[in-house]
């Protein structure tokens, strides 16, 4: 049996109220909210966060054979982004690949993994941009999803892949030229007319391939960046249309490349055994994937569910949103911008920088962050074991708000964090309301992009309140 072994979603902490857009601009916006990636997040860091959740939801010690990463908004081109995720998740996989850079690539990566061999961690991630006041800006959402595909030999399969179908067509509905920060859209009735027959084609052939009828579908996911086509498509799916799931576009927005992964994860997190899940994606053609959940899903207890993350978001004003996206250039502290990081130093400290691995003195047990060669207790020399700390929670010993330090979004909050079981590090905090912070508060780590200098991203870990 081949299918899904585990999955996990990631929604950033901030929410933009769409009505704030029209209040600011006098037009645009709409009802509801969308998720907003923080200024220190990109598709790679969100991919790491989703990957961490998926691995927590997988059997203990699970290691995939390959990592595939797909996004419309890659942090790098020419350089592979999946290698950063691979390092941050401390994967042993020999293969880490990017699938670039169309929304359909994300669906294609998942479908290819389902049809292939070995175990694959499929990570999809997106930051949805758009001109101020545009539909893309208001209706998009930021997020990531990670789905672990494999067969019984890799772990209990919670959703068996029954089959599917794909169809491809060349037409210009939406596009983005490399270097541009947002997409263009053609008049939407043209796209709708193109998508509907493609979707019907994939639907019919896919259900046949999976051997299920439309009436058997318990959870129907219809996804795509063409909202009008998606709505019309549901109406054409006959007996299945009653099974269509809430696609969370009202509160999360449409997460583009991550949308299918997020919605599939959301469904699996509440599905019962023996249910049929159909995923129809409209993107430069159409793709259908059909699953049936297994008995194993009963004992699957996912953490940080998409539903929970959708609940705990906090608002961000439209001005800050524009500043975070770089649309508004805001005056920062009069401090020099940081220098680019060194490739060779970063390579030497790879385990610490990307995976937050410290060292533990074998004789005294003292934990060192960053790793040290000589122990701070007892001075033992070169007698340490690696100590992975990225999933260890900590307590704030002391903290301060720094109003004068360089930051892309000042002020910054810094805390001295004492980790459970030993080890201390002063780290920057994120995703919080600093006014409510107290000594003794509990924090967990999150992978972030601290800054970018000369085109090189500086990734490292920050801490956020435990949620």
């Amino acid at each position: 049996m081949r299918g899904i072994i585990a999955s996990g979603g990631y929604l950033p902490y901030r929410r933009l109220d769409r009505s704030d857009i029209s209040k600011f601009l006098g037009s645009g916006g709409g009802r509801g909210t969308r998720t907003v990636a923080s200024y220190d997040e990109d598709t790679t860091t969100m991919g790491v966060e989703a990957g961490r959740v998926a691995l927590k939801n997988a059997p203990p010690g699970f290691q995939p054979d390959a990592l595939w990463f797909a996004t419309v908004d890659p942090a790098y081109i020419d350089k592979t982004n999946a290698t950063t995720i691979h390092a941050a998740l401390r994967l042993e996989a020999d293969v880490a690949l990017d699938f670039g850079a169309a929304a359909r690539s994300a669906v294609g990566a998942l479908k290819t993994a389902l049809g292939g061999g070995g175990s694959v961690l499929v990570v999809t991630s997106d930051i949805r941009t758009g001109q101020p006041g545009s539909g893309d800006e208001a209706n998009g959402g930021d997020g990531a999803a990670a789905i672990i595909v494999g067969d019984d030999s890799h772990g209990p399969v919670i959703a068996e892949y029954l089959g599917g179908a794909s169809v491809t067509e060349e037409f210009i509905d939406r596009w983005r030229t490399p270097g541009d920060s947002q997409s263009g859209n053609w008049e939407e009735r043209f796209g709708e007319g193109q998508y509907l027959p493609l979707g019907e084609n994939a639907w019919k052939r896919g259900l046949d391939a999976a051997g299920v009828g439309a009436a058997e579908v318990d959870h129907l996911i219809v996804s795509g960046l063409h909202a009008r086509a998606v709505r019309a498509m549901v109406g054409r799916l006959g007996e299945a249309k009653g099974a269509v799931v809430d696609d969370r576009t009202a509160t999360v927005g449409n997460a583009g490349a991550a949308q299918v992964g997020l919605l599939l994860t959301d469904v699996l997190e509440r599905a019962e055994p023996g249910q049929v899940v159909a995923v129809l994606s409209l993107a430069d053609g159409a793709d259908l994937m059909v699953f049936r959940t297994t008995e194993a899903i009963k004992s699957w207890t996912p953490v940080r569910t998409v539903a929970a993350q959708a609940e705990w978001g906090q608002p961000i004003g439209y001005g800050k949103f524009l500043a975070w996206r770089g649309t508004l250039a805001v005056e920062g502290p009069r401090r020099p911008a940081p220098s680019r990081i060194s490739a060779s130093v970063s390579a030497r400290s790879r385990e610490y920088k990307y995976a937050f691995v410290g060292s533990k003195d074998r004789s005294s047990g003292a934990l060192h962050l960053p790793p040290a060669r000589i122990s701070r207790e007892g001075d033992a020399f070169d007698d340490m074991d690696a100590a992975p700390m990225s999933e260890v929670e900590g307590t704030i010993a002391i903290f301060t708000i720094d109003r004068i330090a360089y930051s892309p979004s000042p002020p910054i909050t810094f805390a001295v964090v004492d980790f459970d079981g030993g080890g201390r590090l002063p780290v920057e905090l994120c995703d919080l309301d600093a006014d409510a912070l107290q000594i003794g508060d509990r924090v967990e780590l999150t992978f972030r992009r601290l800054f970018t200098a000369e085109g090189i991203h500086n990734y490292f870990w920050k801490a956020r309140p435990v949620r």
């Binding site: 502290p333 009069r334 401090r335 020099p336 940081p338 220098s339 990081i341 060194s342 060779s344 130093v345 970063s346 030497r348 400290s349 610490y352 920088k353 060192h368 962050l369 960053p370 040290a372 701070r376 010993a397 002391i398 903290f399 301060t400 708000i401 720094d402 109003r403 004068i404 330090a405 360089y406 930051s407 910054i412 810094f414 001295v416 004492d418 030993g422 080890g423 201390r424 590090l425 002063p426 920057e428 000594i439 601290l450 800054f451 500086n458 990734y459 490292f460």
Partner: protein, 398 residues
């Protein structure tokens, strides 16, 4: 093995100190020439009489050429030293130890910094080594701000009282600086102004932070037995102790940000070198590193001027005021002088030199100077991660 110091072996015979401030019309070269020329004039000698030079600067150059080029020295050894905010003291330590060793008859230490040319607020390091980008990004102000709630919590001092204590330290240093023509800020500041100034980091406000200034200071040293050839008021080195910490504070959950172990260790070593058993009674005054007001508070306890957990009471009682039992920073400190990193350590020694030689102006002369010993204290770095220096100076041998 042992740290013996060079008590009574070396004496300062002349010093020079520029005004500290925003010298838009002077570069590092000009400041260095001004300070060293003043020192030479006081000692009644010329630059060729000096056998070796030590020049301390943290961000205005990186070799002996910092001094040899502007001073146009003729085949003289010049050593550049950099030890964060202990740079100036470190320059004099090198010069004094070289004279004590017998290697040279006369040496000069110069501390200089030109920091106001960067265009940024605060101090900006000159060159940074390539890194992996994982180092802390917060400012020194933020690091020292952590000491405030930590100290208050440990010793049961409420936030309002802590605010009052820090404001008193700032008020006192500005009061002293208002009596010093070389200071960057020569005005008294009310505690009300201090407590209403803009927030910088944590609860620290602008007036809790030292200013940023350019400046230079120089000192000439000879063997103690030669000192009276040049001056009838030599200032003898009684002790010089430097400690570079192992930076474990920010990695060790046992560190609570209420003490600076490195300074305590340097003080203990210095007192041992100078055979001091009761610093509060035996020493007249100290110039300390008031980069941020909580630093000065904690330093009082590290220097054993009061019991741990009681410095805040002594501050409020006026113990460390200009007319107090143990004046701290009678020249106005970093609060009034700003902090040209390479020069600050020697500037502190300059105030001890003036007070010990009875050359401080009457409005700033401390009544305790009869004790005949003065102390300087430097620290560079942050709570849990610093270099520290404590030195003692005296007018009498023995």
């Amino acid at each position: 093995m042992g740290s013996h110091g060079i008590k009574d072996k070396v004496a300062i015979i002349g010093m020079g100190c520029t005004p500290f401030g925003e010298h838009w019309d002077k570069g590092a070269d000009d400041l260095l020439i001004d300070a060293s020329t003043e020192a030479l004039d006081v000692a009644g000698i010329g630059k060729d009489d000096v056998d070796a030079y030590w020049v301390g600067t943290a961000m205005s150059g990186s070799s002996g050429l910092v001094a040899s080029k502007p001073l146009h020295l003729h085949n003289k050894p010049v050593t550049h030293v950099q030890n964060m905010c202990a740079t100036g003291g470190e320059a004099l330590r090198g010069a004094a130890y070289a004279v004590a060793s017998g290697a040279y008859d006369m040496a000069m230490a110069i501390g200089v910094e030109k920091v106001k040319d960067s265009g940024y607020q605060g101090l900006v390091g000159a060159s940074r080594s390539p890194t992996d980008g994982t180092e802390r990004a917060l400012t020194a102000a933020a690091m020292y701000a952590m000491c405030v709630p930590a100290y208050g919590k440990k010793y049961g001092v409420d936030d309002a009282t802590m605010r009052e204590v820090l404001a008193h330290i700032s008020w006192k240093n500005h009061f002293n600086g208002a009596r010093n023509s070389r200071a960057q800020f020569k005005k008294e500041v009310t505690t009300e102004t201090i407590c209403n100034s803009p927030l910088m980091a944590g609860t620290l406000r602008v007036f809790d932070c030292s200013g940023v200034a350019d400046g230079a200071t120089a000192a000439i040293v000879v063997r103690a037995e030669d000192a009276y050839k040049y001056t009838d008021k030599p200032v003898f080195v009684k002790a010089m102790s430097l400690i570079a910490g192992n930076a474990s504070g920010n990695a060790d959950p046992d560190y609570d940000y209420t003490y600076f172990e490195e300074i305590g260790a340097a003080a203990a070593d210095a007192y041992s070198q100078a055979s001091i058993t009761n610093p509060r009674a035996q020493i007249a005054m100290s110039e300390v590193h008031d980069c941020f007001t909580p630093a000065e508070l904690l330093i009082m306890e590290e220097l054993q001027l009061c019991e741990r957990g009681t410095a805040w009471k002594e501050v409020l009682a006026g113990t460390f005021d200009l007319d107090g039992d143990f004046p701290i920073n009678p020249d106005g400190g970093l609060k009034s002088f700003g902090h040209p990193v390479g020069a600050s350590g020697l500037r502190k020694i300059f105030e001890c030199y003036l007070q010990l030689r009875r050359e401080a102006p009457p409005e700033r002369t401390i009544k305790t100077i009869e004790r005949g010993l003065a102390m300087t204290q430097d620290l560079g770095g942050f709570p849990g991660e610093m270099v520290a220096m404590v030195s003692i100076w005296g007018t009498e041998l023995g």
